[in-house]
Subunit: 355 residues, 2 copies
């Protein structure tokens, strides 16, 4: 079913005559508009896209299937006008995106409002064939950049230099923007799941966690590999690496339409716990990826979501030992009828850098 | 006066016992915290900074002068607890930052709320000596990157290549993040004030608008230079360049404590109008720069703001001729008692690239 039709079904069910879509990612999802100022109003019959004069030309090129309107007065007044003109008695709005200040303005215009929670995000949770094409390209760009980075990872270079290089390689690979700042964390720093690259020089025996993503037509990719620098005693590093890898395989193996995302998390977590690292995996196992690099579903012990066909999410368990180092391995998977298709194709056998 | 003291004066005036600060830039401004999850509550006597366990260590290092609390339950409940514990009967909140969904949660907790509009932004509008140090470094980093870019601007190279190179030079110069994606717009594309870099190759006779910024400790810089590629007939290009430059000089000359920012805009605009380009300068003359790359004050014909000592803003008039090309020249100024100090030091004489 077409996206607009799926949305209209939801609108009817929610008891609203129309929806005001202000979250720019949701606007892009529905209309194709990539600019930074614009919103949409969708009713049972009509679909409007509204922007300002700066984006007139861009809207004409990008937006299909919407009446394009250039706003020329204060936004809340414009919206009131559309409600009157298109017969909207109750207007749904995105409660995570409308700030209180704007909400009050709409109320003052005497628009009857209804709070809607993550309606478009719910549509975005499963991916269309076209979206999968962009996501695949986004993954490929990220992988080709990483392959070019590998030869320059060596003892003596810094985390920052590697991160900068990878960002530059990602842009060269065609990514217009990066979904997040590349993480390169080495040695003890790799024990912090959210480390920022520092001037620390890589040394023999270091685990090096590299977490990065690509982009294509607004769609993100997100992946992590951990490599090891040759050194004297690597036993511990190898042990935690292969524990994480096995945990990740078990989680991926669990993926199937109908299971709870919490069960996927448990598959990874219980393996890590049993290996004796039950205090060492402090974050969730994964998250959806699409137009946003973090979106639904949440793959964690707290989640109540159910896996559906054509969802795309990461599987990224880790073990982090303060003062020593950490390992994280992150792939993206798409859910098919029979189970997970792993989209990330980079090898997962532990890479030991001999330089 | 210390920032917290200035804020407390405003709180008393607004009739609230405390303020909930959720805008992350405002949180950083007040507490020093640079992470992506945390908020502050400030009362007449107390100052709390609240974050989650992931940022415990970081908060301990970065946050000074606040009681640091690690939240362990749902946020609205935590806030209710602080209201009770610290005697907050009426809690002010940032109306541009609290979304409707969270507002409703606070209401359900029976917290008496009061909408505050841009209170911290108003504090941020003038810069302290320490802030000026960071802004100056941010400008210097941006300038040194640009100087290294200049030798590689030549006919045949693409906008994208130059933009990518400049981004990489900015990072090498020490910028942790970029305040916005670098704009390189050449030939006809330079007539779009918000152009994104394309694969277009630079040609003789092209005007090339380059708009970029640096960073230091979270503080942005923002500047634009327009260069010209040698070609057969450059008369028109030179004419609009020197009109923009003269308009910019007049605007800068107008800057002084006590004048309206609208008058600065008018100084540039009326000159451009009289030169016969009254349809060709479609944006405002400038904007404040600090922890955000676009912040108060607004320097445009619509603004009612008054210039104060230690404000920092851009002065960036332009002329854009559709199908032909455009010119923009952007400097940052800091307001001193006697007038504007121009912080940007890159030359403004038209640079004609002979390659």
């Amino acid at each position: 079913m077409q996206t607009k039709a799926r949305l209209r079904k939801k609108l009817a069910k929610a008891g609203v005559d129309g929806i005001l879509i202000t979250d720019l990612i949701n606007v892009r999802y529905l209309t194709g508009f990539t600019g930074s100022s614009g919103y949409a109003v969708i009713t049972d019959r009509d679909a409007l896209f509204i922007t300002d004069f700066r984006y007139k030309e861009q809207a004409r090129i990008e937006v299909r299937g919407y009446k394009i309107i250039i706003e020329n007065s204060e936004r809340s007044g414009e919206i009131k006008k559309y409600c009157d003109r298109y017969g909207i008695r109750t207007l749904g709005f995105e409660d995570h995106n409308i700030n209180y200040s704007f909400y009050k303005k709409l109320v003052k215009r005497k628009i009857r409002l209804k709070q809607l929670t993550k309606m478009i995000e719910q549509l975005r949770i499963t991916k269309s064939r076209q979206e999968m094409v962009h996501i695949s390209t986004s993954v490929k760009r990220a992988e080709s950049a990483f392959r070019k980075l590998l030869p320059i990872i060596r003892a003596g270079t810094t985390e920052k230099k590697l991160a900068l290089k990878l960002e530059s390689l990602l842009k060269s690979a065609g990514c217009k923007m990066l979904p997040f700042e590349v993480i390169v964390a080495s040695g003890p720093t790799s024990a912090l799941p959210h480390a920022q690259p520092t001037d620390r020089k890589l040394r023999g025996g270091d685990l090096v966690v590299i977490d990065w993503g690509g982009e294509c037509e607004g769609y993100s990719s997100d992946m992590t590999r951990t490599v090891l620098l040759k050194g004297r005693s690597l036993t511990k590093q190898k042990e935690i690496y292969y524990n994480v890898l096995e945990a990740q395989k078990r989680a991926i193996h669990k993926v199937k339409p109908g299971v709870k995302t919490a069960d996927i998390d448990r598959a990874a977590r219980s393996y890590i716990d049993k290996a004796g690292y039950d205090e060492s995996f402090g974050h969730g196992t994964g998250h959806g990826v699409g137009l946003a690099v973090h979106e639904k579903p949440v793959v964690s012990w707290r989640s109540t979501e159910i896996v559906k066909e054509n969802m795309v999410f990461t599987v990224e368990p880790g073990i982090y030992l303060p003062g020593f180092g950490g390992v994280r391995i992150e792939d993206m998977v798409v859910v098919k009828k029979g189970g997970a298709d792993v989209i990330t194709s980079l090898p997962k056998k532990l890479k030991i850098i001999e330089r």
